[in-house]
Symmetry: C2
Subunit: 356 residues, 2 copies
């Protein structure tokens, strides 16, 4: 069994804590470990380190090795440029296949929160079994507990046999992030799950699907694969990767393939998409505040206040997010926390790139 951790995110949704080259996966947003370290620890509990691959981007190089010291350096792959999930999984898949043509891989984002890890492993093991039995592309679905509009959804078709007590399904369709009305309908119907972004398959099965649905990506990968271990590898890799089309595994493969299955994960899962999510998941003081670092407040409630250096003083506010880090401060309503990307856009336009 092999693991692929996708650690290429450039997410700016945690600005000013996250910056260019220091994306969300490197942050210790909840607890003492970075999200990448937590993901790696979770993988290490059932996959040996030499079978775990990290795929990231060149601009994350300075941070990545600090968070992945147990992983052999040759298992860290650097995309010269981000091309979304299908190419980065493809790149890692051909690299693993070179060593082990029969490999089954578990693919996961580096920067999500997962708790109840025994249940996580149980779901993964069922997914591996299903992937091997059915020659399938398997995804982990999370039962929605609210009509979230920030997640993709997967609709199931017929229920299959449970595997070791874990429910498994055939997938009917993938749905993009819905509006609230649609999300409510999904929730009510009972046959929609959240798309966790975790995929399990034999590499051969995945590459066959690429060949069918994304042939130009497949051809590019094969061109790269031919050069693995040869002097011209880097030259070919750089050239081909630049030309590859940017596309997600969901849209490019999973939505189109027929052999797609879903395993129900009943662990706690959150994609940590905003400071608001972090606020909701953090323990709060008696005023409903989450406070980190040097903070004084008076007459302030239900707020997330974080000071990395210096001091933040707050007076007479509620439902607010304040994050101070390295010369930058974000102040926003909790309900606007998902719009932090608009601030980052403004920073670019107003020539404040040094703070990005």
């Amino acid at each position: 069994m092999y693991g692929i951790i996708m650690a290429g995110g450039s997410g700016m949704r945690f600005w000013p804590r996250s910056r260019e080259g220091k994306s969300k996966q490197f942050l210790k947003i909840l607890g003492k470990q970075s999200l990448l370290q937590s993901t790696l620890k979770r993988f290490k509990s059932f996959i040996p380190c030499e079978n775990i691959y990290i795929v990231t981007r060149k601009n994350q190089e300075s941070e990545i090795e600090k968070h992945t010291v147990e992983i052999p350096l040759q298992n860290i792959l650097y995309e010269p440029i981000g091309k979304n999930t299908a190419p980065c999984i493809g790149l890692t898949a051909i690299t693993i296949q070179q060593n082990d043509p029969n490999a089954v891989v578990v693919v996961s984002p580096a920067d999500h929160l997962i708790k109840k890890e025994d249940r996580f492993r149980k779901a993964i093991f069922a997914a591996v079994q299903l992937a091997e039995e059915k020659d399938g592309l398997v995804t982990i679905g999370i039962s929605p507990d609210r009509p979230a509009t920030g997640y993709g959804y997967i609709q199931i078709d017929g229920e299959l046999d449970t595997i070791n007590g874990v429910k498994t399904f055939k997938v009917r369709t993938f749905a993009e992030k819905p509006d609230l009305e649609t999300a409510k309908r999904f929730l009510k119907s009972g046959d929609f799950f959240w798309n966790s972004g975790i995929f399990i398959f034999r590499i051969a099965v995945f590459l066959k699907a690429l060949e069918e649905f994304l042939p130009s990506l497949y051809d590019g990968l094969m061109e790269i694969k031919k050069c693995i271990g040869k002097p011209n590898y880097n030259e070919v890799f750089q050239k081909v990767y630049q030309q590859i089309k940017s596309i997600s595994i969901d849209y490019g493969v999973m939505e189109k393939a027929k052999n797609v299955y879903l395993v129900k994960g009943d662990f706690l899962w959150n994609d940590l998409g905003s400071w608001e999510q972090v606020y909701k998941l953090s323990p709060k003081d008696k005023n409903g505040n989450v406070v980190h670092g040097n903070v004084v407040y008076h007459d302030t409630k239900n707020s997330y206040i974080s000071a990395s250096d210096g001091i933040v003083a707050v007076l007479g506010l509620e439902d607010i997010v304040i994050v101070q880090d390295e010369g930058a401060i974000l102040v926003c309503r909790r309900k606007n926390a998902e719009d932090v990307k608009q601030i980052v856009e403004r920073l670019k336009r107003q020539k404040f790139e040094k703070y990005i």
Copy 2:
């Protein structure tokens, strides 16, 4: 004619911009000059520099000379400890009297905003004439345009002759900062003025009033005066000043004396008591925001946002004050801006003295 500028304020109402040893008078809160520099410039337009005295506290020493370069060093008096206005005026008065027994002085706080300076001078000249003619203690009163609860009030008695077109009155009584109901009543009655904290009198008249109403302060000052120019001056000054009772000129003298007069000042006056006052007096952009330094905002209205170094990003807020300065950030509702002292109290209690 002599001037006394009271520059001893330890005001923390502009934290984090104001700090211990860098009080409000040194801040360039409105415009390019510090409030002390503006006050000095106003005085210099009708009093020669060698007749202007600054009275301040020892802990302001590092800043004060930078803001008062035109003033002879011997005209800057340092209180070892703040004792409110009556002692500091008394100390400066005996020092001036040593050089000029017939001096008339204009006393003013260093950190108020005054505009329409020609009207200011006209009021001062009328006050000087009145002080000399009546042997009086004269104050400048400002016609209230709203029921402010943050100012002291002065009630007039009979109207006297105008002096060069300026209205003058006998004073009936001084009133402390009123509650809103009382302030509304004051405004309606038409015979109450705001107490500007500006006083004009012959030194001999003032010292006579001290002798009558604050005899122990008077005795202390006389003890200090005897030693002016002698080797034991500093020793006596320090010892006596420590023992002097802290008391304001309003409460200790003006409320009790009979020979108190008011000259109506129709210049623009504001004591700049909070960030909210500064917001109200500042020019605003089309969203009603006052913005200084590196600030980006989106969906934000009617707010005061100031960054001294680094960058402040604001999203989805209104009616808010954000001030960043030297490792500290204040975030509060505009209506809570007067409670910044509560933050400073908390900083003390929580051992964050280095940020005060």
